[in-house]
């Protein structure tokens, strides 16, 4: 049987189709423009980068989009495709063709939404181009009704159409099965989806079916089983990004933030440009108190967001906050650089985006922790008091992100009662992401179950003010009073120890203070690395030991 003639499909109407070509290589855009015109297209748009492409998509509903996978730093075609689909900037039946210049497909399998309709490898000639277009347009026509039904949210109808189409056009069976399964998931019909995936896997072990099955198991809350399936995927393809994402999800549900971080870190190494992924990674790093990695993740999230059309203030706040929290509090050169950096990020935000409704609050909340980490507790407390007016009594009006920041700043100030109330209130909200929920639970869990009683709190605040103006001896007296009233308080013990250590560093070492600061530090005990007081505690211990080692003779 020799080659079949090319035109067995009905004439395609090129003239009425809108085509977009996205590529950073100008010469290629020229080539495409000429080639497409020669094929018969008349409505051709060209874009040099994803931002341009997105703007064009907002104005025109394209039928076909060609997009180079690799467009230079910070952006690739996969990311653009994801955003266009996620924000529904393109129709469901838009044909997206990924143009790759490499040997094998770098784009890895994902959910239906993230896969292009086709791939084409450079260099290609006009004949190949036309063939590719013809085939894909033909396919879209066959599947047209299904796409329409999905666009209108008529999932049951779409599934029915899938069954019919599979019979009429056996070449599309796989697509129909895949689509049906995904639609069942959207409808919450998990057993039906499971059934389809298992049927496919019985015939051949395919990674997309394993991924689909894993997703289904996650919905069914069978996390350990899902993990098994995902490990299998990684055996077939050890660089499957969606597998790592799903593993991270499983471990989120199993409340194992360290595993979550491990898998997300793997995923971002393979696919660094996703803003969401980097952001989630940042959040889980914070839960694990790995502020260095959190900074890195938030930096990447910010960088990637600059290439997208949706630059948000949140990216800036997160980064500035993480830089702040990564300060050790020892007034070192590194710390001062961080202060400047945090301020710089917030300034940059003002220039580039609309800072949003709660911007002053968010900036001030970061400001509180900046003061604390610069050993300026009085200013921190004052700033918080200014914020306090009306803020905490009306949490309903505040966003989830702001509330998390608020609780964290309160905790850093030692105001555990208020922080706890906010966190408890927060956990009742239903708009928390999984990582936010786990983070809030972790913060809540870290509570040294005591509260700063009224008088002790007052004394603490007064003492802080004295400390701030270098009146160490008086502040030490008041801190001691406070500790007498609330001897178990970690915060108070650390404050007292700090005041004494500071005095001994700047004035003179006394055996009395040495003994007393040792007592404070001992009473705090061996703090766990996950405690929010850990950095401060270990820093103080270091400074205390340095004092004894310096051989300053006690009086």
């Amino acid at each position: 049987m020799s080659k079949k003639p090319l035109s067995t499909t009905p004439r395609i109407d090129y003239v009425s189709k809108y085509v977009l070509v996205v590529d950073d290589f100008g010469q290629h855009l020229d080539f495409m423009s000429k080639a497409l015109k020669a094929i018969g297209f008349t409505k051709i748009a060209l874009a040099h980068n994803p931002k341009e492409a997105t703007f064009l998509c907002q104005e025109t509903s394209f039928d076909i989009i060609f997009c180079d996978y690799n467009m230079g730093e910070g952006k690739n075609g996969q990311q653009l495709l994801h955003e266009l689909r996620y924000f529904k900037t393109v129709r469901h039946d838009c044909v997206f063709i990924m143009v790759t210049a490499e040997t094998s497909r770098e784009v890895v399998l994902g959910a239906l939404e993230n896969e292009p309709e086709g791939y084409i490898a450079k260099p290609f000639n006009q004949a190949v181009l036309r063939r590719k277009i013809d085939r894909l347009l033909d396919k879209q026509t066959c599947l047209g009704d299904i796409h329409l039904a999905i666009e209108y949210g008529q999932y049951n109808k779409a599934i029915q159409l899938c069954v019919e189409t599979a019979e009429l056009h056996p070449r599309h069976i796989s697509w129909c099965q895949k689509t049906s399964a995904e639609l069942y998931l959207r409808l919450g019909k998990y057993q039906s989806a499971k059934h389809i995936y298992k049927l496919i896997l019985a015939k051949r072990v395919l990674d997309w079916a394993l991924l689909g099955l894993a997703k289904t198991l996650i919905y069914l809350e069978e996390y350990k089983h899902a993990i098994n399936e995902l490990q299998q995927v990684l055996i077939i393809n050890n660089s499957c990004v969606p597998a790592f994402d799903l593993l991270a999800q499983c471990y989120q549900h199993l409340d194992d933030p360290e595993r979550v971080q491990e898998h997300l870190a793997h995923a971002v190494k393979l696919s660094p440009f996703s803003v969401e992924r980097q952001n989630t990674l940042g959040e889980v790093c914070e839960t694990n108190r790995d502020f260095k990695s959190a900074c890195k993740a938030y930096r990447n999230a910010l960088k990637s967001s600059k290439y997208s059309i949706k630059e948000e203030p949140e990216r800036y706040y997160k980064l500035a906050a993480a830089i702040t929290d990564s300060m050790v509090g020892d007034m070192s050169r590194f710390d001062s650089t961080k202060v400047m950096e945090a301020h710089g990020i917030l300034a940059e935000m003002e220039e580039r985006v609309d800072p949003g409704k709660e911007s002053e609050i968010r900036k001030d909340l970061i400001g509180v922790r900046l003061f604390l980490n610069q050993q300026k507790p009085r200013q921190a407390i004052e700033l918080m008091q200014d914020l306090d007016q009306g803020l905490i009594s009306n949490p309903d009006n505040l966003s989830t992100a702001t509330l998390i920041e608020l609780s964290y700043s309160l905790l850093s100030l030692g105001d555990e009662v208020k922080a706890k109330n906010i966190l408890v209130y927060l956990l009742k909200r239903d708009d928390l992401s999984l990582s936010q929920r786990n983070h809030a639970k972790t913060l809540l869990g870290n509570f040294d179950a005591e509260e700063l009683a009224g008088r002790a709190k007052e004394l603490n605040e007064d003492a802080a003010k004295l400390y701030d103006v270098d009146n160490f001896e008086e502040s030490i007296r008041l801190f001691s009073e406070a500790v007498r009233l609330s001897p178990k308080s970690v915060v108070l013990n650390l404050n007292l120890a700090q005041a004494m250590v500071q005095f001994m560093e700047t004035e003179k070492v006394t055996s009395d203070y040495q003994k007393k600061s040792l007592a404070c530090l001992t009473s705090v005990g061996e703090l766990n690395e996950t405690s929010r007081h850990y950095e401060r505690y270990s820093n103080l211990v270091e400074r205390f030991e340095a004092l004894s080692a310096n051989g300053s003779r006690p009086n």
């Binding site: 049987m1 080659k3 080639a35 490499e102 094998s104 260099p123 063939r131 070449r171 072990v205």
Partner: protein, 228 residues
């Protein structure tokens, strides 16, 4: 300013990206040029063939090199999908259209229209590209692609009616270091690449493999890739 070690993979990938853009431009410009100035003399025709052929080889070589680098560093992902084989082969031949016409070769494809199989279309395409370009050079005037199901494998054979392959190649097609022949410019790298790609395709405990022999149905040599 701190000196960061060069991420070779990144550099390599970028270089390949660049080369591909250039080669693409080269080939399309050549096409345009030939349409505007169709070669008349036999010499011009053969020059056009050389230009096209060599540009394609640069492309193939670069891609292979990158793939092999990735293979060695375990960064090569294999993305298996369901492929309509007949369509796939037709598209593949279309890519060599210009060269085929210039050399006046007769092409046959023997494949069940309804056959679909599971493999990484990009990688297999690269393998076939390489073989086809070589076959075009060495065949007399015919090229045949035959597809058959054999023992749970799908076998794609590319046959020619040229002089055939040397024996030692047929013994061990995938080994290459033993065979670098600077006279003919043959490194055996292409076959090594093909063997590794075939191997990466696994199903049900079985791996793919290649074969090279002179049992071509049209009288020359044959390259075969078997995918489980």
């Amino acid at each position: 300013m701190s000196k960061q070690p060069l991420d070779f993979a990144l550099a390599f990938g970028s270089a390949v990206h660049d080369v591909k853009n250039s080669v693409g431009l080269l080939l399309s410009t050549l096409d345009d040029f030939m349409k505007a100035n169709p070669p008349v003399t036999a010499e011009d025709k053969s020059r056009a063939v050389v230009l096209n052929y060599e540009a394609s080889r640069i492309n193939n070589d670069m891609m292979q090199l990158l793939s092999i680098y990735r293979l060695e560093n375990e960064r090569l992902f294999i993305a298996v999908e369901e492929v309509q084989v007949a369509e796939f082969l037709e598209d593949e031949m279309l890519a060599h259209d210009t060269l085929l016409r210039m050399k006046g070769l007769e092409v046959e494809i023997e494949c069940d229209e309804d056959l679909s199989w599971y493999f990484d279309s990009m990688l297999i395409k690269n393998v076939l590209n390489n073989v086809i370009v070589n076959t075009i050079r060495y065949t007399k005037d015919r090229l045949k692609i035959a597809v058959e199901s054999v023992d749970g494998y799908v076998r794609i054979s590319i046959e020619d009616n040229g002089r055939g392959f040397p024996d030692e190649l047929c013994q061990d097609p995938g080994g290459y270091l033993t065979r670098i022949n600077f006279n003919t410019g043959s490194t055996g790298l292409g076959l090594y690449f093909s063997a590794r790609v075939a191997e990466l395709h696994r199903n049900d405990g079985r791996a793919g493999y290649i074969e090279v022999d002179n049992n071509s149905t049209i009288g020359g040599g044959a390259f075969r890739i078997n995918i489980p």
